[in-house]
């Protein structure tokens, strides 16, 4: 039975998930924009950590940032229902087998 409070809580969760999803999409777009770093195009220096040209260090940072955006995405907007559906089907299958 769906009560008013559980309905409100579910709506709030949906709204938060939508916000995070939009945030993740914005972060991916931001990464794509930052990837086109024309401001470092001619730069050989500074050497980050004393050996990595800035253009290379910037893109290594983009790879790290892509991993972090991935982390935010899997933590806050992972489609959990995919595994839930799987479990529900398995339970239903077991139930049918037991009944027969």
């Amino acid at each position: 039975m769906i009560t008013q409070s559980s309905f409100n809580s579910s709506a709030a969760t949906d709204s938060r998930e939508t916000t995070v999803r939009i945030l993740v999409i914005c972060l991916i777009l931001l990464l794509a924009i930052l990837h086109q770093d024309w401001w470092w195009w001619e730069a050989k220096e500074p050497l980050v950590f004393g050996f990595m040209p800035i253009g290379l260090a910037w893109h290594a940072g983009i790879s790290l940032a892509a991993g972090l955006v991935g982390l935010v995405a899997v933590m806050f907007c992972w489609p959990d229902h995919l595994d839930d559906e799987e479990e529900e089907e398995a339970v239903a299958k077991t139930g049918k087998e037991e009944a027969s």
């Binding site: 195009w41 990595m52 253009g55 790879s63 892509a66 982390l71 899997v74």
Partner: protein, 570 residues
């Protein structure tokens, strides 16, 4: 020594194949999809190993030598962003559909989604053709690589290389190790037995006389037209290297199916990542540390251009390269790997760690390529850069280990591709046309194994023939897969998409791909670009536009079909 280490590594793979074969259950689901039981770590390693080829080690170093550090942004960081997004948005969804409807291959999904055998008959030759081209790059690359890293493996005492030498120089001091094999008489310089090209520097040091340098140059010459050397390298020939690699991969795929492939991929991915790091450490140490190497290059005004992108890579080329990593979404062998996951949540690790794995593999190789530009002579073959740095700054043992690492990167893609082609033939052609229940599970495994043997044989025979044109054509397989990607996105996310739109998209791709390849033949130097942009950008855009327009002009799919693939949420 290098060849011995490589042989030891290949033997390890054979052992793994036998072990996985013992665990094989007698079901086609186990042979083609490892019973959909792969965990998060193995999924990450399989997926990463499958998307990375020898290019990750040899190509990245060589391309940086040619085009500077921008190669990382062009090929690696774009891939980090786009691959991870594809695994998140496409991989997990494909897995769920595959599990729900029992798909084994990409084409079985398309057939069901669009209810069209015609679409599959169009896609099948295209996909098979692209995968075979991709495979051939690996097979030929492995043969060439083994030939390159195994010089003087076989001592050919009967072989003699000679060059004219007018008179013996007065200061000639032949190293004692070479006295038995080198002779100077009757106006000729002769060396018996196998020779490595790197001996040239050693021989040059035997005398300062110009006629001696000329004679050594002629002795070690390679005919530019025929590419035939004056000397016998004693290396494992290309045909034998290709045969060895094909047989090893065939062995473990044949006996262990997808389970052996996933295990082998996991091991091979770890091997090539670790070997890349070891090579980086040893070479960097020999160069006096990373700081000293970079500072020395920076101080060299004539060579430090590789530390930036100006005049080496165009801004539009850099931007439009983002279309190439889309190809990963349509790789049928990767699609099959996705279906092997035990749970959808197993994709989480792959989404997060894939860009980091790219970083770990590519940054050291890009740095090596950058430093090599300041060290090696101009005109060095880019594909030989990593090998030359390894042989110059380390011993034979490391050269052998790096060799094993490069072969690991090649084979970790080849095995999945062999298995995937076998799955496509068995499931989408034979099984589909004879009826699902007409062929028993055991017969399906038998058929699958038979097709693996056939495909390996076909690839090997093509690999023996005209290799350069196959290589040139192979580059276009990535463009082709990227051009098909919009059709997969539409199938997964656009309820209105229909078979007419998908067929129109595939036909457009086929026409544009052929036209693009023919146009590229007119370009003899550098990358083929259109208005400074990658051709794939135009191909993906036009294919998408045609697919959308045709879809909107034709009837929508039935409600029943929409409900099957886009069920309403309760």
């Amino acid at each position: 020594m290098s060849f011995t280490i490589i042989l030891c590594y290949l033997s390890l793979l054979l052992f793994l194949g036998v072990f996985a074969g013992r665990l094989l259950k007698k079901s086609s689901g186990d042979f083609f999809l490892a019973s959909r039981g792969i965990g998060p770590f193995m999924l990450l390693m399989s997926v990463f190993g499958t998307t990375m080829t020898a290019f990750a080690l040899i190509g990245s170093t060589g391309k940086t030598f040619e085009f500077g550090i921008g190669v990382y942004g062009l090929m690696a960081s774009w891939s980090g962003i786009i691959h991870a997004a594809i695994f998140f948005l496409i991989g997990a969804k494909v897995w769920a559909l595959g599990k729900k409807h029992g798909y084994v291959t990409q084409l079985s999904y398309f057939r069901d989604r669009y209810q069209s055998d015609g679409l599959v008959l169009l896609l099948f030759p295209l996909v098979v053709c692209f995968v075979i081209l991709y495979l051939l790059i690996g097979v030929i690359g492995a043969g060439r690589f083994i030939e390159g890293v195994t010089p003087e493996t076989f001592s050919r005492s009967e072989a003699t290389a000679t060059a004219p030498l007018a008179m013996a120089p007065a200061d000639l001091k032949i190293h004692p190790d070479w006295k038995a094999r080198m002779s100077v008489k009757d106006g000729k310089l002769s060396v018996t037995g196998s020779l490595h090209p790197k001996r040239k520097g050693l021989f040059m040091g035997f005398s300062k006389a110009p006629e001696w340098k000329k004679a050594v140059g002629a002795l070690m010459a390679v005919d530019k037209k025929t590419k035939k050397a004056n000397y016998e390298s004693g290396a494992v020939p290309k045909w034998a290297g290709m045969a060895i690699v094909c047989l090893v991969v065939l062995f473990y795929v044949f006996f262990g199916g997808m389970r052996a492939t996933a295990w082998a991929n996991t091991m091979q991915t770890i091997v090539f990542m670790v070997m890349g790091l070891i090579a980086f450490y040893v070479i960097t140490d020999a160069l006096g540390g990373p700081k000293a190497a970079s500072e020395k290059l920076l101080a060299n005004e004539a060579k430090n251009s590789v530390m930036a992108r100006e005049s080496l890579i165009g801004t539009w080329q850099f931007l439009t390269y983002c279309f190439i990593p889309l190809s990963v979404g349509m790789f049928p062998h990767l699609f099959q790997h996705w279906l092997t996951a035990k749970k959808a949540s197993n994709f989480k690790l792959t989404v997060v760690a894939h860009p980091i794995c790219i970083l770990i593999t590519w940054v050291p190789c890009v740095l090596l390529g950058m430093w090599a530009f300041g060290i090696l002579p101009d005109g060095t073959n880019p594909n030989a850069v990593l090998g030359m740095m390894v042989s110059r700054y380390s011993g034979e043992v490391l050269a052998g280990l790096i060799g094993a690492g490069v072969l690991a990167a090649i084979m970790s893609s080849m095995d999945s591709q062999f298995l995937c082609l076998s799955s496509l033939f068995t499931n989408d052609i034979v099984s589909h046309h004879f009826g699902k229940n007409a062929i028993s599970d055991e017969k399906k495994i038998l058929l699958g194994r038979g097709f693996v043997v056939l495909i390996v044989l076909v690839c090997y025979l093509i690999g023996l023939s005209n290799t350069q044109s196959v290589f040139d054509l192979g580059v276009w397989c990535f463009t082709g897969f990227a051009g098909l990607f919009p059709i997969l996105v539409a199938a997964l996310y656009w309820k209105r998409s229909n078979k007419q739109g998908a067929i129109a998209g595939v036909l457009t791709l086929a026409v544009l791909e052929t036209a693009g390849y023919l146009l590229s033949l007119s370009v003899h130097e550098g990358e083929f670009l259109i208005l400074g942009m990658m051709p794939v950008a135009f191909i993906v855009t036009i294919t998408t536009a045609v697919m959308v327009i045709v879809t909107l002009l034709t009837p929508p799919p039935s409600d029943e079909l929409v409900e099957k693939f886009f069920p309403a949420k309760n």
